[in-house]
């Protein structure tokens, strides 16, 4: 499997989107090379506007552009897009239901060496809490690109989360179709369910294989849309398997795990174990080492699944 970062899918997806949506405008806040909007800028220099290091104003400008009918993508790191500019996203974009797409890259601790100030593990929680905000976290390059392209026909404020780290591409670009709000069962099984999102999907798939080799049939579900979440796929897993393990490169407070718990509690209470960052800040280090340290790797998912099944 080739490796590529989902943020590359963001940049390439924008170029593909521009072909079907000539009204597309892309904003960035001095991070074009990192967010990969530079790919779009090169192809469409007249549609790319750098807002400088001023994320709050960028979100407001995006709102103004959208109010005149343009399709706008506002790009920065997750820390600044969801964190610093939170209130502008809430009041200027989401409250008037404007068609602004937020492209937030460098999410989670896999940012790596930059350390805690840049490792945003709270963005899903923040964005989920905003009324009417769609939250999307693609798993690989193909899914990321397809998610961006799907925005051509998806109205309303949307937060798209991308990673810095190159990760395996397991979807086939020729056949993959992105459906907002649809969980994808990437491996079937009836012993236990693993719900993963973003970069953790590849780890969950690997864990599923290791478990299968040991005789445990784990169902692995890719939740690329955390809001609105696919309730059916969760309820089905709650009913058909013994427990649910959620895996996300995000705080265990307010992210995928919380969203899954909300559904399970309302519809079919069962055991849910949340794997993620547990109320902590990250620190500097290589992404792979950090992910291992926080238990966000196939090996630890396998261990957690086994301990859950033992109980």
């Amino acid at each position: 499997m080739a490796n590529k970062a989902t943020r590359e899918g963001y940049g390439d997806g924008l170029c593909a989107l521009a072909e079907v949506r000539p009204d597309l405008i892309v904003l960035d806040a001095d991070l074009s090379a990192a967010t990969k909007t530079c790919i779009f800028q090169k192809a469409y220099p007249e549609k790319h506007f750098n807002c400088g290091i001023a994320e709050s104003n960028m979100m407001g400008v995006a709102a103004g552009l959208a109010s005149t009918g343009k399709l706008v993508f506002a790009s920065s790191f997750a820390m600044f897009a969801a964190g610093r500019a939170f209130e502008i996203v809430r009041n200027s974009i989401a409250y008037p239901k404007l068609n602004v797409k937020i492209g937030a890259t460098h999410a989670g601790i896999s940012v790596g060496e930059d350390g805690a100030t840049h490792q945003c593990c709270e963005d899903i929680a923040l964005m989920r809490a905003i009324p009417g905000m769609t939250v999307i976290n693609p798993a690989d390059y193909v899914e990321a690109k397809a998610a961006v392209l799907a925005m051509a026909e998806y109205e309303g404020p949307t937060y798209l989360r991308f990673g810095r780290l190159a990760v395996p591409i397991y979807n086939d670009e020729a056949t993959y179709k992105f459906e907002v709000g649809k969980g994808i069962t990437v491996r079937d099984g009836d012993d236990i369910s693993i719900f993963a999102t973003g970069l953790m999907v590849a780890e969950a798939m690997e864990a599923g294989q290791i478990l299968a080799d040991e005789g445990i049939n784990a169902r692995v579900v890719n939740i690329h849309t955390i809001k609105p979440i696919d309730r059916d796929v969760i309820v089905k897993a709650a009913k058909e398997t013994k427990a649910i393990v959620t895996v996300e490169e995000h705080s265990t407070i307010g992210g995928l795990g919380s969203a899954v718990c909300d559904v399970v509690l309302e519809e079919f209470p069962t055991t849910v174990v949340k794997l993620g960052i547990e109320d902590a800040f990250g620190h500097s280090g290589a992404a792979k080492d950090l992910l291992r340290e926080y238990g966000l790797c196939a090996e630890n998912i396998v261990n957690v699944v086994k301990s859950v099944l033992k109980k």
Partner: protein
Amino acid sequence: MDKKFVKELEIAAAKVRIGIIEGVHSAKAGHPGGSLSCADLLTYLYLHRLHVDPADPKMPTRDRMVLSKGHAAPALYAALALRGFFPMEEMKTLRKIDSRMQGHPDSLKIPGVDASTGSLGQGISAACGMALSGKISCDSYKVYTILGDGELQEGEVWEAAMFAAHYQLDNLVAVVDNNGMQIDGKVSEVMSPYPIDRKFEAFGWHVININGHDFNEMEKAFNEAETVMQKPTVIIMRTVKGKGVSYMEDALEWHGKAPNDEQYEIAMKELTAHLAELER
């Protein structure tokens, strides 16, 4: 402007002020001081300057007006009502539970409102986006935004000021309602934004200073703004907070408080007497 037209605007402004007091009194809450200080400006914009159509509030070619100091919503609503967007009678439903007259401007609920504002500093950014959109599409509409002087303390205002100058948004005019007061006291004492003109000038804006209660000065300033190329314009207007109601003028306590029944009677007596005098 000829004297007759100035008089017409003065009459309209008096009606807007009556609408403000009706609304705030009925709501038993709201911001009369900062609404009254920009009542003349909003009257001028909606009854004279802006290319808008009450029959088609979302007309794509319309001029945009973003009330960045969203707490002056009563003044905006009264001006919109007078322009014909909805009946002035609706001012009496201001801030009420089943009303569309939200405490702060709501672009989804209220016809004629171009941006949902109220959280200070955000409106000017949205106005920049609208102006940039006009530039991208070669549209001829203009974008206006009204800022409070206290609002200038928000950092986002200066991010937007930098942006507007950088992208040479000469289709954007910002107006600062310089009434000199904010909730906690005089702006000069709470956190001085002065010198406002030199700050905007340094950010690359064309700056005009006027008296915000003089329609002739407004006309001159807005006409001048239309001639400025490749630069946004800011009109800094000196105003009196609470203008038009004697006991509210330059009185800090009327920033965010509604008059009681007795105070309401006094205000209405003054405003209707002024209106009658203008109409005589």
